[in-house]
């Protein structure tokens, strides 16, 4: 518990996000109306996903430098949590798009790019489950993991900025210019991002710890069978 202070930070930040995100003043804009508050909940999902995938990729690179089953588990479980965040981002985006853009799937470049990168990561799990040999699985999936992260960057961050996208910050602009009028939104948005990322790390570490216990039990049974 002593090393878990950041978990409490996450909870406190997210409570603040829910209360502040729903009650604080926001810019009054046409069409988006109160749904501008969805920014506090929808966008942090993507920040969370990118950070989880980044940590996953770092562990994948670590594995390739020095093969170790623990690094492999860390890599997979962070990718797993990242995928959960990405799916939540897609679903919340679908709801938001339906009421502000007029249809759930608008074919927006960022929407498509996000969907493709989620598919790329789904293929990562399919690749893993299709390989029997543990070392081969860990090595091949680590290589693929790095590729998947490299593919995600243009899909989410570059292509939507080069074309016209309905998402704010597209068409060459760095993000959030639209909200610059109201810097009070940042007061909720940044804590939200940090809170969700910390929550993601919490979930991922829990998954890793469970997997490590499982691993030890498997090893124990193997020893008994020998």
């Amino acid at each position: 518990m002593k090393h878990s202070w950041w978990k409490f930070v996450s909870v406190v930040l997210l409570i603040y996000t829910i209360v502040g995100g729903l009650l604080f003043e926001v810019p009054r804009l046409n069409i988006v109306n109160e749904t501008i508050r969805a920014l506090y909940f929808h966008v942090p999902m993507w920040f969370g996903m990118v950070v989880m995938f980044l940590v996953s990729t770092i562990h994948a690179a670590k594995y390739l430098r020095k093969p170790n089953s623990v690094t492999d588990i860390q890599s997979v479980e962070f990718a797993n949590t990242g995928l959960a965040f990405g799916l939540l981002g897609i679903f919340t985006g679908v709801i938001w798009a339906n009421y502000t853009w007029g249809s759930p799937w608008h074919g927006d470049p960022k929407q498509n790019g996000a969907a493709v990168s989620i598919l790329v990561y789904l293929a990562y799990f399919i690749l893993r489950s299709s390989l029997e040999n543990e070392e081969q699985r860990a090595r091949l999936s680590a290589v693929y993991n790095i590729f998947a992260f490299a593919a995600m960057i243009p899909l989410i961050f570059i292509i939507p900025r080069m074309t016209s996208s309905m998402h704010p910050g597209s068409g060459g602009n760095p993000g959030f210019n639209m909200y610059d009028l109201d810097s009070s939104m940042r007061m909720v948005f940044y804590p939200a991002v940090i809170g969700w990322i910390l929550l993601g790390v919490w979930i991922a570490t829990l998954r890793i710890r469970t997997r490590l216990i499982e691993e030890k039990l498997f090893e124990l049974e193997d020893e008994k069978n020998v």
Binding site: L14, I18, L22, L23, L206, R209, I213, K216
Partner: protein, 80 residues
Amino acid sequence: MNLKMKKMYKTTLMLLLAMLPISLFAQPEVEMADTLRSDGKIYVVVAIMLVIFLGLIGYLFLMDRKVTRLEKKMTEKDIK
């Protein structure tokens, strides 16, 4: 006498009945804990979201504790 009483009874009843709508109209002025019902009831949504969020966090916390306990058990049994 009897007739007079009846008449009085009737007038009081009518007066009371006439006052009924007044009491109905007066109701909103009665002080109640209306905070949760103001501003389009947004506070209700806040409360619901907080309940769901805290419930999930509690669940996550319990899982964390369970894993910690398992880890302790493993080290106690000296499984490396």
